[in-house]
Symmetry: C2
C-alpha cells in the first residue's frame, strides 16, 4: 500500500507515509481481503479491494482532522499539526489518487471506479453536513454517521462483489450504513463530555435536546444502535457466497461492545 502511494520522497509523501504507518486497525482493508477470499478472487484483486477503501479512509482522516481541528490521531500528532496545513491538504489528495491507482488492477476497473466515486461523494456529503450546521436532530445524527462512515465500510465488499460479477451492491451499502450508525453511537457514548464542550454532533446530546434525560438518551441511542446492527446482520447474511462474513464479524464486535456498556451501566 505504501509503495503504490509514495514512490518519490517529498514533504507530502513523507506526510502520507507518516499517517499510514501510524497504525489504525485497517478495518476496511481486512473487510476487502476477507470478502475477496470468500468470493474466490485472485490475490491481485483482493489487494485492490482492500487497498482502495483503506487509502480513501486514510485520506478522509487526514482532511477531516484538518477540518475539525483535531490535533491528535492514533495518539500521535495529526498530519496537519505535524507537517502543516498545506502538506495535509496535498497528502490527502495524494491518498485519494493512490486509492484509485490501487483499483487499476481490478478486473472491472470501470465499474469499480463508479462504486469508488459513489462512496467518496456520500462520505463528503456526510462530512459537510457534520461541519456545516449544529443542533442536528437525533435522526440527522444517524444520517450523518451513515453518510460519513457507511460508504467506506461497504466499499470493500462492493468492490469484491463487482469483481466476482455477483449481485448485492444495495444490500452492502445498506449494511455499511447501519454498521456506521452503531459505530458512531459507541463513539458518541465515549465522547459525550468532549462533544458537549465543543458543540460537536453527538447522538446522545441530540436525544437530550429532544427531551430525554441523560440516562434515557443513552438507552434510546443504544436501542437504535442495536436495531441498526440487527438489520446489518440480516443484510450481511443475504450477501452471496459469504461475502458478508467480514461485515458480520464487525456486527458481532460492535454488539459485544454495546453489551459491555449495558453491563457497565
Amino acid at each position: 500500500m505504501l509503495r503504490c502511494t509514495c514512490e518519490t520522497s517529498s514533504p507530502v509523501s513523507d506526510a502520507a507515509r507518516y499517517h499510514l504507518t501510524a497504525g489504525g486497525a485497517r478495518v476496511r482493508a481486512r473487510i476487502g481481503l476477507d470478502a475477496a477470499i470468500a468470493l474466490g478472487l485472485s490475490p491481485t484483486t483482493a489487494l485492490a479491494c482492500a487497498a482502495a477503501p483503506e487509502l480513501l479512509h486514510n485520506a478522509s482522516l487526514i482532511h477531516d482532522d484538518l477540518q475539525d481541528g483535531d490535533a491528535l490521531r492514533r495518539n500521535m500528532p495529526a498530519v496537519w499539526s505535524r507537517y502543516g496545513r498545506d502538506a495535509a491538504i496535498s497528502s490527502g489528495d495524494l491518498l485519494i489518487s493512490a486509492a484509485y491507482k490501487a483499483i487499476a488492477l481490478h478486473p472491472n476497473a470501470g465499474a469499480a471506479i463508479c462504486a469508488m466515486h459513489d462512496a467518496v461523494s456520500v462520505t463528503i456529503r456526510g462530512q459537510a453536513q457534520d461541519c456545516s450546521a449544529r443542533n442536528h436532530s437525533s435522526e440527522d445524527c444517524a444520517g450523518i454517521a451513515a453518510d460519513k462512515s457507511g460508504p467506506l465500510l461497504a466499499l470493500p465488499v462492493r468492490l469484491a462483489l463487482i469483481a466476482a460479477d455477483a449481485p448485492g451492491q444495495e444490500v452492502a451499502i445498506r449494511a455499511g450504513r447501519a454498521i456506521a450508525i452503531a459505530y458512531q453511537t459507541l463513539d458518541d457514548f465515549v465522547d459525550k463530555a468532549a462533544d458537549r464542550a465543543t458543540s460537536a454532533t453527538n447522538i446522545c446530546l441530540s436525544l437530550e435536546a429532544e427531551g430525554h434525560d441523560p440516562a434515557a438518551a443513552i438507552s434510546v441511542a443504544r436501542t437504535r444502535a442495536q436495531a441498526a446492527l440487527m438489520s446489518a446482520r440480516q443484510d450481511a447474511r443475504d450477501l452471496p457466497n459469504s461475502a458478508g462474513t467480514p461485515l458480520l464479524t464487525l456486527v458481532n464486535r460492535l454488539e459485544a461492545q454495546l453489551k459491555e456498556l449495558d453491563n457497565a451501566a
Copy 2:
C-alpha cells in the same frame, strides 16, 4: 462534466459547481477532445479524455488557491474565500474523485488510472516544492513549473493515446513539461512585481538573484522559454496520428505571446 460531479446538492457540491461554472479556458478539455478526434476515438472516449484532466486541473486550482491564500480566481472570489476552507478542501476532493469517475468509460480504464495517478503525483510534488522553500534557483523554477503544470497538459493526450493503443507516453509527458515552463515564464513576466512582494517563486527574480540585471533576466527567461517551446514543438510533431496537434496549437499561441512581449520590450 457538472452532472457527473455534483449529483446531489450540498455546500460542497455547490462550491464545486461555483468553481466550474466560473469559466476558465478549458485548455486541457480542448486538448483531450482534439487529441481524441485526431486518433479517431469515440465521443464517449473523447469526453473521458477531456473531462478527467480538466476536473483534476480544477481540483488543483481550488486546493492551490487555499494553500497559496489567493483570494481571487478568474476575477471572482476563490472557492475558499467564498465558501470557507472546509468546503474548499472537500470540493477539491470531490473533483479529484469525479475526475477518476470520468475515466470509468475509458476503454482501457486500468492504464488510464495509472496515467492519472502519475500526473497527480507529479503535480502534487510540484505544488509542494513551490510551497515549501523559497529562493529557488532559476533551474529549480523551471522544474517546479514543469512538475506543477506539465502533467495535466500532457494527460489528455496520454489518455487519448492509451485509448488508441498508440505509443508516445514519454513524448507527451516531455512536451507537457516544456509547454508548462513557457506558460509559467509568461506568467512570471506579468506577476514579477507581485511575486517580489510576496517572495513567491518567479523565474525572473531567480535569474536576478543569480546576478542578471532585470532586463537580462527577462531576456534569459524568454530565450529559455523559446527553447522549451521548440523542443515541445518537435515532440508534439512526433506524436502518432496528429495526436499532438492540440499541443502544437498551444505552442504556437505561447510563441506568439512571447514574441508580443519581445515587441513590447
